[in-house]
């Protein structure tokens, strides 16, 4: 689901960056406020590395011979809590982008949003945690994980389709792209959901404290202060109080409200900026039209194109004349020769630099 730079327009890329940066800023502020935030950092780091390691082991899916691996959004949110999960996923995606070229540098904003913000700030608080409350059981973990992961991947795939068609590089129509992406990710989601559920159930059986701290840990100090020693088991007290928030007892400073507000802000930022950007299809195109006299295909079709077509008819084919001019393609024999020339120059430059370096190295070796 990692998006690449090549299929993205700068407008969409920058818009989604804004959304992801907003979400990360909120998560950072939340972790900083949390008394145990700092102590969680190594835990988050090792969990992120674990997702990497787990991705590198291929698991055989029975009957198909193909292999699957885990994406880890819901898994990390469940193990670490939503905000820590988001930061960890963001770090994982940055590393994947830089070291493996898995997802582009400009597309990083999109990828963090599709694979990090959606599971951690939307699905986890709105779906996963409510299903698991008041306290996790085997069945609840199964339902929550499968439903959470499936919906995460559906929304993520939808985001990919939106961002790709919004960029206008790929020609695949929106609906066709959607029909292609959603079922594939439904299948992936079911497998990943089952795997996530199995992992979480194992962890819950062995170390139940991990899941409960993740779900209610960040709210624990405040809640513990408000309800001093009602229950001997602090985990239960927190669990019940959080579920009472979930069942309508809303306070303005409840973590859930904050998450929803900021998630909405992030979405509005992303969608708004992208829409704004695409309303002016290309600031760059427009200025390029003025400067270089070439425009985009869409604008060219109406006036410039027909005018040029007439001109082209009159002049017929001339080697000097850039007959595709006006569509921005600028494909002419001269252009193609020019392109070939660039490759030759580049190759020659590369060879010369290498030869020079070799020569110098030989010289220094002699000395």
């Amino acid at each position: 689901m990692h998006m690449a730079d090549a299929l993205l327009s700068p407008q969409v890329g920058v818009g989604m960056y804004a959304a992801s940066v907003a979400a990360i800023a909120v998560a950072t502020a939340k972790i900083k406020k949390d008394d145990f935030g700092e102590s969680k950092v190594p835990l988050m780091a090792v969990s992120g590395a674990m997702v990497f390691a787990a991705q590198m082991i291929n698991f055989t899916i029975p009957g198909t011979g193909s292999s699957g691996h885990i994406g880890g959004g819901i898994l990390l949110a469940a193990l670490l809590g939503p905000f820590a999960g988001l930061l960890t996923l963001a770090a994982v995606l940055v590393i994947q982008c830089l070291v493996f070229a898995d997802g582009g540098l400009l597309a990083l904003g999109c990828n963090i949003f599709n694979m990090g913000v959606i599971p951690c700030l939307f699905i986890y608080p709105l779906l996963f945690r409510p299903i698991l409350s008041p306290s996790p059981t085997v069945k609840r973990i199964w339902i929550g994980s499968v439903a959470g992961v499936v919906i995460t991947l559906q929304l993520g795939a939808f985001g990919v389709v939106l961002e790709t068609t919004g960029s206008g590089i790929a020609a695949l129509p929106f609906s066709a792209f959607l029909v292609l992406m959603q079922p594939i990710h439904l299948a992936i989601g079911v497998v990943e959901g089952i795997v996530t559920a199995a992992i979480l159930n194992f962890v819950y059986a062995a170390r139940p404290d991990i899941l409960t701290t993740a779900a209610y840990g960040s709210a624990a100090p405040a809640l513990a202060n408000r309800r001093p020693a009602k229950s001997p088991n602090p985990g239960v007290a927190e669990a019940t109080s959080v579920s009472s928030i979930a069942s309508g007892n809303k306070r303005t400073d409840s973590p859930k409200t904050v998450i929803i507000v900021f998630a909405c802000i992030a979405v509005i930022l992303g969608v708004g900026i992208s829409l704004f950007a695409s309303a002016y299809p290309d600031g760059l195109e427009w200025s390029m039209e003025r400067v270089a006299g070439t425009t985009e295909l869409e604008t060219g079709e109406s006036t410039v194109f027909s005018a040029l077509a007439g001109v082209q008819e009159r002049l017929s084919f001339m080697p000097d004349y850039d007959f595709a001019d006006g569509e921005g393609a600028g494909t002419s024999a001269a252009g193609i020769i020019g392109a070939a020339l660039v490759f030759v120059i580049a190759g020659a430059a590369g060879l010369i630099i290498r030869a020079y370096k070799k020569h110098r190295r030989a010289k220094t070796a002699l000395r």
Binding site: L105, A171, D282, A349
Partner: protein, 259 residues
């Protein structure tokens, strides 16, 4: 198999150890140049093949100046290719209107956009590889600090990057143990995946706690040491300005269109 993966992971960083003109360039200059490069390349319209071609010069020249092994980077590039190649081919199939005729053969707009997508993929991916293969990871994260990326995220990036190798080793020894007890199976069966990764998760958590204890012993929590500022020298600034100006100029005055 897993040890190969560990090697793959850190081989680019090994390249960053070199000592060439490009390696010596200030990381901030390289980061900004890469960003401007990608935005310039990506902002061409989808039929504009010729516009982006001159940007090849940058890649080739920097790769030779930095003495990077082309074969290694190109093998890496193939990982990023499939999805883009898919989009490129659908464009070829879907857009069939003839764009131009050259020497009797007609080429469709889809063909042009396919070329554009492949070209863009190559340029963008290679630009990032060049950045990471000529810049040590700590230098890069220091620049993120300058760009006001939250400290916690930077610490996470650094630590995850370091611990991937450790955890792959851990997972590898678990996988070996698993294989020794299940003679005929090729990989790890799906039904055991939950307990396998779950076990890995618990081990990771325990390790995380030990690491935290060790870090606290060594004074973690105060400011991260080794973050002293390295200023950009005049040659760095000159290089940054010249390259960025070249990319922007090529964007607005695509020389191949003017031929």
């Amino acid at each position: 198999m897993l040890s190969n993966r560990v090697h793959d992971l850190y081989v680019l960083e090994g390249l960053a150890d070199g000592d060439t003109v490009i390696h010596r360039l200030h990381p901030r200059a390289k980061l900004l140049v890469t960003l401007v490069f990608i935005i310039a390349v990506v902002s061409f319209n989808r039929y504009d093949v010729l516009g982006a071609v001159p940007y090849f010069l940058y890649l080739i020249i920097v790769m030779s100046l930095a003495e990077l092994p082309g074969s290694l980077l190109h093998r890496r590039f193939l990982i990023a290719l499939p999805f883009c190649a898919f989009a490129a081919v659908t464009n070829l199939i879907l857009i069939r209107e003839t764009a131009f005729v050259l020497g009797g053969a007609s080429f469709s707009w889809g063909f042009l956009s396919m070329l554009t997508i492949l070209l863009r993929t190559y340029l963008c991916v290679m630009a990032v590889f060049i950045l990471i293969a000529t810049t040590p990871f700590p230098a890069l994260t220091r620049e993120l600090h300058r760009l006001h990326v939250p400290k916690i995220l930077i610490t996470l990036i650094e630590m995850i990057y370091r611990y991937i190798g450790v955890l792959i080793d851990e997972a590898g020894s678990m996988a070996t143990a698993y294989k020794l007890r299940s003679v005929q199976s090729k990989g790890i069966a799906m039904k055991d995946m939950g307990s396998f990764v779950g076990q890995l998760a618990i081990r990771s958590f325990d390790r995380g706690e030990r690491i935290y204890a060790a870090m606290t012993c060594r004074g973690y929590g105060r400011d991260i040491p080794g973050r002293e500022r390295v200023r950009m020298t005049p040659p760095d600034i000159l290089c940054l300005i010249l390259l960025c100006a070249a990319f922007v100029l090529l964007r607005f005055f695509p020389i191949l269109h003017m031929l």
